[in-house]
């Protein structure tokens, strides 16, 4: 589904990302881990064409992301607050997205129904702008928005950060569910090794922009990662 070829990102002399090749098949849950500054967010941003690659390219189902736009309707993402319209209320925001994705009102209702448990009655129907929400609730809005419009792939940057433990579990359930039911491909970066090893089929470890480990075997994942991070 997503293919990375000879990707490089350089700021002047500093190489921040250098990925030879990476292929993410459909309906895989792809985990991305690495220390601060390893290049996780940069990789996601290049995949979404928010940052220009210095060399190489990312293709989504054969389309170069920097040359075409059609893939955008098939890929959902939530990286940071820049992707939200923070001056709207969550309801208005979802309504706006509904129009952009050309969904019916019933579709939107159905979609938000899935998030009922995660939202915990703190998001919908409140007279509060997104910018005034707490960090955790902000994240929930972003994740719900990213998974809207029946995307084939969803990119989430640190989705578990700032969520309370029960929300973290609910989110894990949601991700596994939509992977099961709609064959959605997930790309998740996280510092939380427990969560990411639990839900992901494959974990890639980045260090200083390079892929240094590509782990497929579930039983060995946590041990390898724990040794690397020294926990």
């Amino acid at each position: 589904m997503i293919k990375v070829e000879g990707l490089k990102k350089q700021y002047k002399e500093a190489v921040v990302l250098d990925v030879e090749s990476l292929e993410i098949p459909k309906s895989e849950c792809f985990g991305l881990v690495g220390n601060n500054g390893a290049g996780k967010t940069t990789l996601f941003r290049i995949m979404l064409d928010l940052v220009r690659a210095s060399a190489g390219k990312v293709t989504i189902e054969g389309n170069d992301v920097s040359k075409t736009e059609d893939w955008k309707s098939r890929v959902g993402a939530y990286l940071d607050e820049h992707m939200l319209l923070s001056y709207l209320t969550p309801d208005e925001y979802f309504e706006t997205l509904r129009k952009i994705y050309r969904l019916s009102e019933a579709d939107l209702k159905l979609h938000l129904e899935n998030f009922k448990e995660l939202f915990n009655d703190e998001i919908l129907g409140k007279k509060k702008y997104i910018r005034d929400l707490s960090k955790g609730n902000l994240k929930k809005v972003g994740i719900a928005a990213a998974m809207m419009g029946h995307p084939e792939a969803v990119l989430l940057d640190e989705p578990f950060e700032n969520l309370d433990p029960s929300s973290q579990n609910r989110l894990k359930k949601l991700i596994l569910q939509s992977k099961e039911n709609s064959k959605v491909t997930f790309l998740i970066s996280s510092h939380d090794l427990n969560h990411v090893t639990e839900i992901c089929d494959r974990i890639v470890l980045l260090e200083k922009g390079k892929v240094i480990k590509d782990l497929n075997e579930k039983s060995l994942m946590s041990e390898e990662l724990n040794t690397y991070f020294g926990v």
Binding site: D49, E69, S73, L79, M83, L88, T96, I100
Partner: protein, 495 residues
């Protein structure tokens, strides 16, 4: 402790991103401030001459003291609009183990270090030396001067309290309007003479030091008022701005007919209504509708045949003011959520088109609202119509194209007055083509044939531009798409 705070303050201004990134703008603004202050000094030096020659007054002192109250009314107005509140700084100090009282004294004291504090001394000291000291003695001059200084400076503290308590509320606007009415009632309608009611206070200050002592006390009382108010409200929740206009704002129905672009125009409308900076721009647009009154009623611009060439400028200003002001920061308004649009299919195209749509609608509203100017002659209505067409066909594309030159991020929750965030050199230079463009078309025809031919040419060019809209708008859209990576990383403040 205070020294440490002052040091922090200096470091802050030296290292602030806006200073480092646009040193040129900072230099320009500093130059502007110096220029304005030097005007004040010049005005002060020639104040006596101006009063004696200009107003044919034999007693310059009596005339000045008689109108002094208007100076203070005016000062109240400009302080209301210009003066900044020091509370924004509070957040960074409140959690530290520094006495709250010290923080407050420091912040209030810092706010006093401002060009506004200097205006009254610069303006009136030369006058006191030239006029009052020779006539009434130097003691009287000092006493008169300090009476004025303390009044001016009391206004400083009063304004800190007043703005924090009432800004953006109906009471605040009410008080400002009431003061305007008091001034106007006295000058225009002659119901009473405010000036001569207040004059005795200043006369008295020549003979006795008592008024100075009283004004000095008022100065201290107003400081104490500001201090206690700020001290007792030194909690983040109390001092952050309250949103008063929540949820009264609804969608503008007309936009919904234009598909995705219309939807984004609607979003933009909500953005305007819900942020302080854009709200101020909107209010200014309403205010500038009255701009015509200055020119159209002024006998200087009356001519026997036709109309003044100046009116073309006035017309394009009135019908396009919102577009000109809002448009010069075109993408900066969306700097906080630019990635949202980038990540949607055809999102950028729809965003730009939505803004076009918004400009067309607001300019049309301005045109409609300016119809009553027909009272000053049908010519004016014609000028407005023609400049409107020209704005839509040419200026709009020009503004948008120029504003795409290195757009900068800005925080649109801050006020608009004297806030130069997002403003770069492009925004300054933009003014030249904005004013020049209509005249390049209009003047040759107006001077060689006649004024109506000039208007006709403007109108034709405007209509041609409107017909070429799909092509012209594509230029801007392509430019954004081409630079999308640079723009988005600059908005994320990564550069």
């Amino acid at each position: 402790m205070v020294v440490a705070l002052i040091r922090l303050e200096l470091l802050k201004s030296i290292r602030s991103t806006s200073f480092a990134k646009s040193a040129l703008v900072a230099v320009f603004l500093a130059f502007l401030a110096l220029l304005l202050l030097s005007y004040v000094v010049f005005f002060g030096i020639f104040l006596k001459a101006i009063i004696e020659k200009g107003f044919e007054s034999t007693d310059a002192y009596a005339t000045l003291s008689g109108v002094m109250v208007y100076f203070f009314l005016f000062e109240f107005m400009y302080r209301y609009f210009v003066q900044k509140l020091p509370v924004i700084e509070l957040e960074r100090f409140l959690h530290l183990p520094i006495k709250k009282g010290n923080i407050m004294h420091f912040l209030l004291g810092r706010s006093f270090v401002s060009p506004l504090t200097l205006i009254a001394p610069l303006l009136f000291t030369p006058f006191a030396i030239q006029e009052i000291a020779p006539r009434f003695g130097s003691g009287a001059a000092w006493s008169w001067l300090f009476c004025i200084f303390f009044t001016s400076w009391s206004l400083h503290w009063l304004m800190l309290w007043f703005k924090q308590k009432f800004e953006d509320s109906l009471i605040g606007i009410g008080v400002v309007f009431a003061l305007l009415l008091i001034g106007a009632g006295s000058t225009y309608y002659g119901w009473y003479n405010l000036g001569s009611l207040v004059k005795p206070i200043f006369d008295w200050s020549l003979a006795s030091p008592l008024p100075v002592v009283v004004m000095g006390l008022i100065f201290m009382v107003t400081y104490w008022l500001a201090y206690t108010y700020y001290y007792s409200n030194a909690y983040l929740e109390d001092l952050t701005e309250e949103e008063n206009v929540r949820f009264i704002n609804q969608d503008l129905g007309i936009f919904s007919r234009f598909g995705l672009a219309g939807e984004l125009a609607n979003l933009e409308w909500k953005l305007i209504i819900r942020h302080k900076k854009s709200r101020t721009y909107l209010m200014l647009a309403g205010f500038f509708l009255l701009y015509g009154l200055i020119f159209y009623t002024n006998p200087v611009y009356k001519s026997e045949t036709g109309f003044s060439h100046m009116f073309v400028f006035v017309g394009s200003f009135i019908t396009g003011i919102f577009m000109l002001q809002y448009g010069q920061l075109f993408l900066s308004w969306n700097s906080a959520n630019f990635d949202f649009f980038l990540q949607k299919r055809t999102g950028i195209e729809a965003l730009v088109k939505g803004k076009y749509l918004l400009f067309v609608v607001t300019s049309s509203l301005c045109l409609l609202a300016s119809v009553p100017y027909a009272y000053f002659g049908w010519d004016i209505l014609l000028i407005h119509l023609v400049t409107f067409l020209f704005n839509m066909g040419v200026i709009m594309h020009l503004v948008i194209y120029l504003s795409l030159w290195k757009p900068k991020p800005m925080d649109i929750n801050k006020g608009a007055m004297f806030n130069y965030e997002g403003v770069g050199i492009a925004q300054f230079l933009m003014i030249i083509p904005m004013i020049g463009a209509p005249y390049i078309i209009y003047l040759p025809f107006a001077l060689l044939v006649n004024q109506y031919a000039g208007l006709l040419a403007l109108g034709i060019v405007g209509v041609a531009g409107i017909l070429a809209f799909p092509y012209l708008s594509k230029i801007s859209i392509d430019k954004v798409l081409q630079n999308r990576h640079e723009i988005s990383s600059s908005f994320r403040q990564e550069l």
